[in-house]
């Protein structure tokens, strides 16, 4: 009977380890899935931010801004101020 108990305990220990590994894997899978979702969301955010940044700083937008500010076309007066002439 002692032998049965010993082997039983051994099997039980193995099973606990097996189940523990399984549970860990489940947890990792959940974490991985969450991370993948976060990664996808971050990539979408990154793309959106990049596109927004590129649009906000696009040469056409910059040109319109410079035109509104009177920098282009660059008048002779502006040039003279730039190069420090009276």
């Amino acid at each position: 009977m002692n032998r049965v108990l010993r082997w039983g305990s051994f099997y039980l220990l193995l099973l606990l380890i097996w189940a523990g590994v399984g549970a860990l894997n489940q947890n990792q899978r959940l974490v991985l899935s969450t991370l993948n979702e976060e990664k996808t969301a971050l990539e979408q955010d990154y793309n959106l931010l990049m596109v927004t940044q590129l649009q906000q700083t696009s040469p056409h937008r910059l040109y319109r801004w410079a035109s509104q500010q009177g920098y282009v076309p660059l008048s002779q007066g502006n040039w003279q101020r730039e190069v420090g002439q009276p």
């Binding site: 189940a19 590129l54 056409h60």
Partner: protein, 452 residues
């Protein structure tokens, strides 16, 4: 049976039940719901194709790229929209299919995931587009195109087309041909801009110089055709004043000092008779007949840019030769391309005299106080149904910035301007506008050398 034995049986039974439950749970967690390991990531189904390659401007600005979910993004919208082109937006699994512009012509490379960097400078591109779009709106033109080429290297800094087209806006794809990269795929008669090339050929052959006199009335009959001049001028002209008055009669008379084959030979060396060498890029085949097929009228026509068709890209590269000390360099659109060696066409002293003449003769609409600008206007009738239209014209201007020691060569073409139709009226102001912005970009005040 003793009490101890009964307790042991319950322990054993409990152990067996627990064994069964844990075995089932363990089997489920490890066998059925196991997280993917690196060893199990070997592809078992069809291989996922790589993301479609990106297109970048010379400074690394993305012009087109694909997201992980395979959406195609054109972040700068209409900037170089026609050059970049568009394709079918892929729905999740495939690579998409480029249809127009570089998206179409470079589809084999892009669909393999290969990214390409263009020579396009976004700032120069924006400057050219703004000027072109304003010019198109003011002239009522159907469409237009403007090219800016780096003179020493032939690198295309801007390939602008108008009206504006945003490849990301699907609704614009059905609006006429605003999506077309006219600069590369539309062949036009270059008109009077070619007179400069004819003059350079005459001077290079030693058959004329800028002071060579020619008796040029306002019209001339050749065979059954009459050649007319538009700008009133005295009959006694020189080659320089022929260019200044843009006299068809004068240049056709002077051109007769050389043979048609000689002129055609220059066209060939300027690569006006073959497709532009831009591998993998769609461009139109020029339509230039062999000199054997030229009669006197066709020869005269060729001397002032009529009777043959070239793309604005051809015209830009040919003109660039004049600004590059007489050496032809093939246009470049890709940063990685190894430049082809320059091919001498004209002697440097000839092109220097031509540049000076162009600056002196420059029309007022293309002048900018304090700066050296020069170029040549052109106004060409358009052939509709095998004959020249009396309503549809192409207005052109090709020139250099600055006119002396050019940094860039610029060519403008406007198709079907309304009201004012002449190159000097509608195309030259676009050139001036681009030049003005370029001087600003380069930090070049009037009357001074560029700031370091």
């Amino acid at each position: 049976m003793t009490q101890t034995s009964l307790n042991r049986i319950w322990v054993v039974l409990f152990g067996l039940v627990l064994y069964g439950l844990l075995l089932a749970y363990g089997a489920y967690t490890i066998v059925l719901a196991v997280p993917p390991s690196t060893a199990s990531r070997a592809p078992t189904g069809p291989v996922t194709p790589p993301l479609r390659g990106s297109l970048y401007a010379a400074d690394g600005t993305p012009l087109a790229f694909s997201t992980a979910d395979r959406q195609r993004i054109y972040p700068l919208g209409s900037l170089a929209g026609q050059l970049v082109g568009f394709g079918i937006v892929s729905a999740g699994s495939d690579q998409g299919q480029g249809l127009e512009g570089l998206e179409g012509s470079l589809n084999p490379k892009l669909s393999q995931g290969q990214s390409l960097t263009l020579t396009i400078d976004p700032r120069v591109q924006a400057v050219a587009e703004q000027a072109l779009w304003e010019g198109i709106a003011q002239s009522g033109s159907e469409w237009g195109t403007a090219l800016v080429m780096d003179t020493p290297t032939g690198r295309l800094l801007a390939v602008a087309n108008g009206p504006a087209f945003d490849p990301g806006d699907i609704s614009q794809r059905g609006q006429g041909a605003r999506w077309r990269n006219h600069a590369f795929v539309v062949a036009l008669e270059p008109g009077s801009t070619v007179k400069v090339l004819t003059a350079a050929a005459l001077m290079n052959e030693g058959l004329a110089n800028l002071n060579s006199p020619v008796w040029a009335p306002m019209s001339r009959k050749i065979d059954r055709w009459t050649i007319n001049d538009v700008v009133a001028h005295p009959a006694g002209l020189t080659l320089q004043s022929v260019l200044g008055y843009s006299s068809n009669v004068g240049i056709s008379l002077l051109a007769e000092r050389m043979t048609p084959s000689t002129l055609y030979g220059y066209f060939t060396r300027l690569h006006l008779t073959e497709k532009v060498r831009l591998p993998g890029v769609w461009s139109a085949q020029p339509q230039v007949r062999q000199p054997a097929a030229w009669g006197p009228a066709e020869f005269a026509n060729a001397s002032y840019g009529q009777g043959f068709l070239v793309t604005p890209l051809h015209l830009t590269a040919a003109f660039n030769t004049l600004g590059n000390q007489g050496r032809y360099v093939a246009p470049q659109l890709f940063a990685q391309t190894t430049p082809t060696p320059p091919e001498p066409v004209f002697r440097p002293e000839v092109t220097q005299k031509i540049l000076t003449a162009l600056e002196e003769n420059n029309v007022s609409e293309a002048r900018l106080r304090g700066y050296s600008l020069g170029g040549k206007t052109g106004t060409a009738q358009v052939v509709i149904s095998q004959q020249y239209s009396r309503e549809i014209y192409t207005a052109l201007y090709a020139g250099f910035v600055p006119a002396q020691k050019p940094r860039v060569t610029i060519a403008i073409a406007l198709y079907h301007p309304k009201g004012r139709i002449h190159g000097s009226q509608v195309a030259a102001p676009i050139y001036r506008n681009i030049a003005e912005q370029l001087f600003t970009l380069w930090g070049m005040p009037p009357g001074q050398k560029p700031l370091e």
